[in-house]
Symmetry: C2
Subunit: 181 residues, 2 copies
């Protein structure tokens, strides 16, 4: 099997990292707790007048590199590999690519080792990447092609309205993929 | 059609940029003229004792960003797009990824505009990327999958031993792809 893993909010806690930094840097501004997040992408739920500030937090130098791993994810990546499957980290750069592009490589090297940096596929269009499964928290993955992979929704509060796809609450449960729906 | 374009020595003159910098920085060292290059990858043809120096040139900060466009390539990219095809820049980062990763994005933005940075697919394994054609100077593209694309060899002195694939001498001639072999 070829398993494609999204990075932000599958391997790395982007939403959690944002919330920590946001509350630390702007304690007087309103915030949205993770369980109250209803949209994919912070920009769609934070109020218009805060968007420049919101973006300045997650586009900042060092932000992507500092993200904490999602508990259990790194161990699962190694286990999937060890059981003989091909694993690739299939991740879209932020539109403000200046910091995140290199930091994604550094994050993977830091947490999984340098060899794993070779498994990164950086693309805005994931439908062009071949695989059996793409595990991704984005409920609506767009691109120019009909995907070859089955989209497995990585469970997050903002994607729970999607009910027609298989869902994974933790990468630790990756073997459930092998049981056909 | 989906046309995948390699970056180094299809869009950007990597070999030419290396030779310029090498001769400028190490005028007393031997060099290999482009027409005498017989291997894909400088490492395989420069003598062992010069390899650290060779790598220090192409891995240096600013090297990838400074590469000159291959004449005619940028105009062809825009023309392919204008004629209604999907174009993606499918490029493998150097193993020493620290400088080239971001600089590839910067190069594309500088020469084609920021929107084109969204068309970059950065991957070590190009066989996983779907397309009708991959135009690439690497005569031997390896990966875990059977490619969906036809490999069109972008003509360079070091890939002329390959005779079982179609060959493009200039991206300006991209329309010849439409004529089935």
């Amino acid at each position: 099997m070829i398993i494609l893993l999204d990075m932000d909010d599958v391997l790395a806690s982007f939403e959690g990292g944002f919330l920590d930094k946001w509350r630390a840097e702007y304690p007087d501004k309103p915030y949205i707790a993770l369980e109250d997040r209803t949209t994919f992408g912070l920009d769609k739920q934070y109020p218009e007048e805060l968007l420049d500030l919101v973006r300045s937090v997650y586009n900042a130098s060092g932000f992507c590199k500092s993200l904490k791993p999602i508990p259990g994810s790194l161990e699962a990546v190694l286990e999937i590999k060890q059981e003989g499957h091909d694993v690739f980290i299939c991740t879209a750069p932020l539109s403000h690519y200046e910091n995140c592009v290199l930091e994604k490589y550094e994050w993977v090297e830091q947490h999984l080792g340098r060899e794993w940096a070779k498994k990164i596929i950086l693309t805005k269009d994931k439908t062009l990447v071949r695989g059996d499964y793409l595990i991704d928290d984005n409920p609506n993955i767009k691109g120019i092609a009909v995907p070859s992979w089955e989209h497995i929704v990585f469970d997050m509060p903002y994607n729970r309205s999607v009910t027609d796809k298989r869902r994974l609450k933790s990468l630790k449960d990756w073997k459930s993929l092998l049981v056909k729906a």
